[in-house]
């Protein structure tokens, strides 16, 4: 079975936030505070004008890590959060009781309360809106001007993402927590 993950050529990122807007349009994320499945973390420049450390300002495109060992899934009292097909961490809104325990448990701030369903929502890797319709890219990947994201099957050794990870160094976020995150930041 496929196990989907995402590699990010994050050095390409120009913080244009096209990915953010595409995700909102693709997935109908409401334009309200706290409603976002994806964001770009900005590490602000250090130093004093005009001696600013260029390397210090970096952009970190972020979304749910679809952890292989997801704390959000473990803590869910009704199994509303579950591992879907392809190893994607999904929320079933019919089962979500909105205890918001998972929001507390996620080390990545990837979850929020969706005002429409009044349940917890997060990145789905566009599985319902795009992959289910035969697309092979996520909305955030497709729209990106500098093509930061490479989405694909980690279990397929010939997929672009597998080849990329085999040949490049990468880092992950908070992997020391044992979450086994599936976003890989290519160095």
């Amino acid at each position: 079975m496929a196990r989907y993950g995402m590699a990010l050529n994050y050095k390409n990122c120009i913080n244009c936030r096209a990915c953010e807007s595409a995700c909102k349009e693709e997935n109908g994320v409401l334009l309200l505070p706290d409603h976002y499945r994806i964001w770009v973390g900005v590490k602000e420049a250090e130093g004093q004008f005009p001696n600013i450390s260029i390397a210090s300002q970096t952009y970190h495109p972020s979304q749910c890590q679809h952890c292989d060992n997801a704390p959000c899934q473990q803590v869910c009292p009704t199994n509303a959060t579950y591992y879907g097909e392809g190893g994607m961490v999904m929320v079933d809104p019919t089962k979500c009781i909105l205890c918001t325990y998972c929001i507390n448990a996620c080390p990545y701030d990837a979850r929020y309360v969706d005002n429409r369903t009044n349940t917890v929502d997060k990145c789905t890797f566009c599985s319902d809106t795009r992959l289910a319709n035969g697309e092979t890219t996520t909305a955030c990947q497709a729209t990106c001007p500098t093509k930061v994201r490479v989405f694909g099957d980690l279990d397929d050794p010939n997929s672009e993402i597998s080849l990329l990870l085999a040949n490049k160094e990468y880092r992950q976020v908070k992997e020391h927590l044992g979450t086994k995150p599936k976003l890989f930041y290519i160095l």
Binding site: I14, Q48, P50, I52
Partner: protein
């Protein structure tokens, strides 16, 4: 794969509601259970190939339309120029389409100008009203067609509107060029024979001065550049008074004093000439007047040490950049830039940049500034009538060369100051917002009020729309098919915007508006011409009236349907019309050349088919060579070679700031000021002020500041940051809208048009956007 829940359904719901006029979402109740998954209504999903119009780039997009609702815009990978992407604004096009504040019906002013009071009328009533006013004006002005001015914002249908202008016979066409990039285009054209295309896909060394490609997206430059920065093939040197997102991606950021770029380029030039690092073969063969230029540079002693005092950039850095540039040349580019008129020396700056680039030989070669190829379309010419009474452009002598798009500021000011040799009484405006895009909006408002008739065609009630007499609602780009366009370049292609859905409300595409309006005006206006134009009178005596009228028939350019015209325009390419309709993009051999080479990447042309070098070393300049000196300009008071003049140095009094403006990637000037998705990303603009200066003044993040200049003031929140120098103040353009009809944009953030002084530079009369001193006050 299992379908979990269709979010689209909700989206559709919200779209439908905003059409109905903006219903707010009610929250759920305690017992509300989650919505049941909705099945996708698959069959009605149409995919229409369109082109984005949220900015000038026109990226290719696929509109997903379900049940007549545009649900999503996806990038269309076929277009070489947009390289399979849509930026944040491109994605937000749907919000522009379904903006509840859109102009929905024709309106006629119903109160004092500026009162914001309008009454809804039918299209015919609107045309009749224009007709009545216009015939009166033209009669009074004895058929001086130039009493009516035309202005247009950038867009694919600008051409259609311009046809109307041409048929009408006025001398006054105004557009954004004199508020934007006129100086760069002519600076490069007069020097190297064209503005050119920076081949950032292959360049190894790029100097971006004042250009901010990470935030002011230009296709394909932005996409090509940042995949190769950070030690991955291209060195990037950013020269900017601010630490921009582009600077953050650079190998070097040089914080330059505002308005001193020319001194920087002259010093770079000095180094490469003095040290003889330039491409000698190229200079020898393809430069005209190099010796003269060399002596000019050396004799004036434009040394890095000299430039350091002016620019604030260390001499050491200037040496290093100059040497590095030439070490990488000819794959080295001094990037041309856009929206470039900053100060009085701008034209000279662009000339100096072009010459400096050329010194490395990086012109018309891979990795340098290329010219590319174009795919010609079949043009159908309509003969423009001549009106004997039409007088010449009023502002033609306000600058050395006032071109076909005029000098907006000079034009406006002459009218206001009663310096116009004849009255200017009416303005036809297509999708242009001079109230926001021209410095000194107090003057623009006065100007618009002074005119007897202002007719504005637009989609949104902008500040300019609110000061108009007649408002004609255009449909948005997703509701219309526009003229097919050929995009020249290294990888040329033809692209077409196809209508995704029918126009909403009573809005119409500009083609239909022009058709209706011209039908109404053509006969009555001809009567006036007949009355005052002796040439016409004698022509009628010679021929019959009908033959003469045929020439003056305003309706001529609008007789055909746009889709039909597009088919004709591409007739010489077999199958192109159908492909354009279906796929939005066409170029010869596309089927063979276009390849997917990775999950994200496509190849458009095989390497050997790309048009890197096309000029055969004959440039489109008078001498066919790189022009170091343009003596013809000297006669008009413009330096034949770039010279640094002491008056270019602008002292900034203590406690004051030099104001600069610019862009973020989430907004397109004032056009996106009411877009709810974009405002969701960045709710408003903030004034960048140096952190240490702010601290001294007791200003912290979010404090309200009043920013004032000689000509006006605006209020904006403070953003203290070390990314700007102590004597500079910055905020992005396009905010602080005055029009209450833009419910989200109204009074949101600071308005730079209120504070920027309306000085112009001497070459084209372009407005100097960075020559304003401001002061701030905490409120």
């Amino acid at each position: 794969m299992k379908v979990e829940i269709s979010r689209r359904r909700f989206l559709q719901g919200s779209v439908a509601m905003s059409i109905a006029g903006g219903v707010s979402m009610s929250s759920s109740s305690m017992m509300a259970s989650a919505a049941t998954p909705a099945k996708k209504v698959g069959n009605e999903d149409k995919k229409i190939a369109t082109l984005c119009e949220m900015c000038v780039n026109k990226c290719a997009a696929i509109a997903h339309v379900r049940n007549g609702v545009v649900e999503k815009l996806d990038p269309n990978p076929l277009f070489p120029k947009s390289r399979n992407m849509l930026c944040a604004r491109g994605n937000s096009g749907i919000q522009a389409l379904y903006d509840p504040d859109r102009l929905k019906y024709p309106l006629i002013r119903d109160g004092e100008k500026g009162s914001g009071k309008f009454k809804r009328v039918s299209w015919d009533e609107a045309y009749a009203y224009i007709n009545e006013k216009l015939t009166k004006i033209l009669d009074e002005e004895k058929d001086n067609r130039s009493t009516v001015a035309f202005c247009a914002g950038e867009g694919m249908a600008e051409h259609t509107f311009k046809s109307f202008f041409t048929m009408f016979g006025s001398s006054h066409f105004l557009n954004h060029a004199s508020l934007c990039l006129a100086t760069t285009v002519s600076g490069y054209s007069l020097t190297i024979g064209g503005y050119g295309i920076a081949d950032l896909d292959n360049a190894k060394y790029v100097i971006m001065a004042g250009a901010n490609r990470a935030e002011a997206i230009v296709t394909p430059d932005t996409m090509d550049m940042f995949k190769r920065t950070n030690g991955r093939g291209a060195k990037l040197i950013t020269v900017d008074p601010r630490f921009t997102n582009t600077a953050a991606k650079s190998d070097k950021w040089l914080a330059i004093n505002v308005g001193t770029d020319l001194a920087f380029v002259l010093a770079l030039t000095y180094v490469v000439i003095k040290e003889e690092r330039y491409n000698k073969a190229f200079v020898e063969n393809y430069f005209n007047g190099f010796e003269e230029y060399k002596n000019h540079i050396l004799n004036n002693n434009y040394t890095p040490e000299w430039a350091e005092k002016i620019t604030g950039i260390k001499a050491k850095d200037i040496y290093e950049v100059a040497r590095d540039f030439m070490a990488h040349a000819p794959q080295a580019i001094y990037y041309q830039g856009r929206r470039t008129t900053w100060s009085k020396n701008d034209f000279q700056l662009r000339r100096a940049q072009a010459i400096f680039s050329a010194l490395g030989g990086g012109i018309d070669v891979k990795g340098g500034i290329c010219f590319g190829k174009s795919l010609p379309l079949v043009e159908h010419d309509a003969v423009a009538p001549m009106y004997a009474q039409a007088k010449p452009r009023i502002e033609k002598d306000e600058a050395a060369v006032v071109g076909g798009s005029g000098s907006w500021v000079a034009f406006r000011n002459m009218v206001l100051e009663n310096r116009s040799p004849y009255p200017i009484r009416a303005l036809f405006n297509y999708k242009h917002n001079p109230m926001q895009n021209m410095p000194n909006n107090a003057k623009t408002a006065e100007f618009l009020k002074k005119l007897d008739l202002v007719v504005t065609i637009d989609t949104m009630p902008s500040d300019t729309v609110m000061l108009s007499d007649v408002i004609l609602p255009e449909c948005t780009y997703l509701e219309r098919t526009d003229p097919v366009v050929s995009y020249g370049g290294i990888e040329p292609s033809i692209a077409q915007r196809n209508k995704a859905i029918d126009p909403m409300f009573e809005s119409k595409p500009v083609m239909e508006i022009m058709r209706g309006l011209s039908a109404k005006l053509t006969k009555p206006l001809f009567e006036i011409t007949k009355k005052y134009d002796e040439d016409v009178q004698s022509a009628i005596e010679d021929d019959d009236e009908e033959t003469v009228y045929a020439e003056f028939d305003l309706t001529k350019p609008f007789a055909h349907d746009q889709a039909e015209l597009n088919v004709n325009a591409v007739a010489k390419y077999e199958g192109a019309a159908d492909i354009l309709k279906e796929k939005g993009v066409f170029y010869p051999n596309m089927n063979e050349y276009f390849k997917k080479v990775g999950v994200n990447d496509y190849e458009y042309y095989p390497e050997h088919k790309r048009a890197y070098s096309v000029r055969n070393m004959k440039f489109n300049t008078p001498s066919g060579k790189i022009e170091c000196s343009v003596p013809a300009l000297a006669k008009k008071g413009i330096d034949a070679m770039p010279v640094w003049r002491s008056e270019y140095e602008m002292a900034i009094p203590a406690g004051k700031f030099r104001f600069i403006t610019g862009r973020h990637a989430q907004f397109t000037q004032s056009g996106t000021s009411n877009n709810r998705l974009l405002l969701n990303l960045v709710p408003q603009n903030y004034a960048w002020i140096n952190k240490r200066v702010a601290e001294k003044l007791g200003i912290t993040f979010g404090d309200k500041l009043e920013v004032s200049s000689k000509i006006g003031k605006t209020t904006i929140k403070a953003y203290p940051t070390e990314k700007i120098g102590p004597d500079t103040l910055f905020f992005v353009h396009g905010f602080g809208v005055y029009s209450k009809a833009l419910s989200l944009g109204y009074n949101n953030g600071g308005n730079d048009a209120a504070i920027i002084e309306d000085g112009i530079e001497p070459m084209h009369g372009s407005s100097c956007l960075h020559d304003t001193i401001v002061e701030i006050r905490k409120v």
